[in-house]
Symmetry: C2
Subunit: 218 residues, 2 copies
DNA sequence: ATTATTTTTTAGGCATCCCTAATTTCTATT
DNA sequence: AATAGAAATTAGGGATGCCTAAAAAATAAT
């Protein structure tokens, strides 16, 4: 069954809202996320219900059916893979990839996501540390570990970052940290939670606790 | 100035028709290419005229303005670059890339085409041998030379193919010929125009005139 | 329990981009 | 110049996906 760009965006947002742990997804919440008015959502909710992609009860809110979740997950997969492509291959900065991937996620071809996945080396995480669903729907374990959790003496690999402010990105660049960078924790200063880290060889900067908490590692 | 997907497709087709050497682009010809009815084209032609992307006089047909040509060329550039990406990086077959690139050409970002171009190594031709416009609008020379034009003893590089039938593609694969393959012409048989060619070392097949005429070389 | 507030729904509209079915206007022949 | 055929246009519609404004229903607060 075919579905429009708009339908895909609804399904994707419903998925995100349910992932965010909302116990009930109301039309108001959904329409806010989509940047439209609640009245406009009514038609689409009916349409998606008729197509059996969602169920909707006023009391229980919107829920994805198995078919709907499948579509949503394929969009999320596509989005995150394109983010990796844009950052790693086209050298876009961390904060610009999302908007472009928002467009690319809707390109339709039965083999595209798998071929892209293969080309990118089957990454588990996108540049923001979000897990990339596998083609069979499985999800890589969500990386909740940050650099600040790493024990002294232990090493880790950067899988994503949580902060995409220009200042933060600039700092990362200056430190030479990007996806895949290996970091060893040399020392932790108890006073303020800051740490001395080792990037490659020779480079041993001291970074604040605040900084370390925004670096997702594996 | 922003423009819709539909507007982009009109501008692209007008460009293609003018490239095909049509001395007059009629609404009928245009609508046929776009797969719509002529009546539907009237509105859009008016719209594009109002936006100064085209001029339209019944006697002279549709013509792109400088602004319109710029948009059309950027779509064509994007399309051809994505074709290269899909074939070379994602290993799609020659005949499938066009349809997917048709979707990808509309992704909007000011830096995308240039970054993709860079990533792909600034190719001059797409997999069908069509020249890829440069970011400043310049066009690589159109490769009108085919393998059958190459002199005995001379070498050439494959830049594209004209035939995308499954049988032809399969044959190419069997011969080990793809974009960038270097071919030397060892011998030409006058009787039927067939030739003995050298691909890499050791591989010296005899190919028909018909085959050689569909291989674009530089 | 009765307001007040929020949420949902209806009703009527608008822009985009396409359609069919008539015309009208060209163009090319005779 | 008359006319057949082709091309362009008008008129009226339809689907999609959004809107505002108002009404109805549900939930929360007093």
């Amino acid at each position: 069954m075919a579905y429009s760009l708009s339908e895909e965006n609804y399904l994707k947002e419903i998925y995100h809202l349910s992932q965010d742990g909302a116990r009930k997804i109301s039309l108001t919440a959904l329409s806010e996320r989509l940047g439209i008015k609640a009245a406009s959502a009514v038609d689409m909710i009916r349409k998606l219900s008729a197509k059996r992609f969602i169920t909707y009860e006023k009391s229980k809110g919107v829920k994805l059916t198995t078919a709907g979740a499948k579509v949503a997950l394929s969009i999320v997969r596509s989005h995150r893979l394109w983010e990796v492509f844009l950052l790693e291959k086209l050298k876009y900065s961390w904060d610009t990839v999302h908007g472009i991937a928002e467009q690319m996620e809707h390109i339709k071809d039965p083999e595209l996501a798998d071929r892209l996945d293969e080309f990118l080396g089957r990454p588990d995480y996108d540049p923001h540390g979000d897990p990339i669903p596998k083609s069979d729907g499985r999800m890589p374990r969500i990386p909740k570990t940050t650099l600040s959790d790493v024990a002294v003496g232990a090493a880790c690999v950067v899988v994503g970052i949580k902060d995409t402010s220009p200042a933060y990105l600039q700092y990362l660049k200056k430190l030479g940290i990007s996806i895949g960078t290996r970091i060893r924790v040399s020392e932790r200063i108890e006073y303020d939670g800051s740490m001395v880290i080792e990037i490659g060889k020779g480079n041993r900067p001291n970074v604040s606790k605040q900084f370390a908490e925004s670096v997702l590692v594996d």
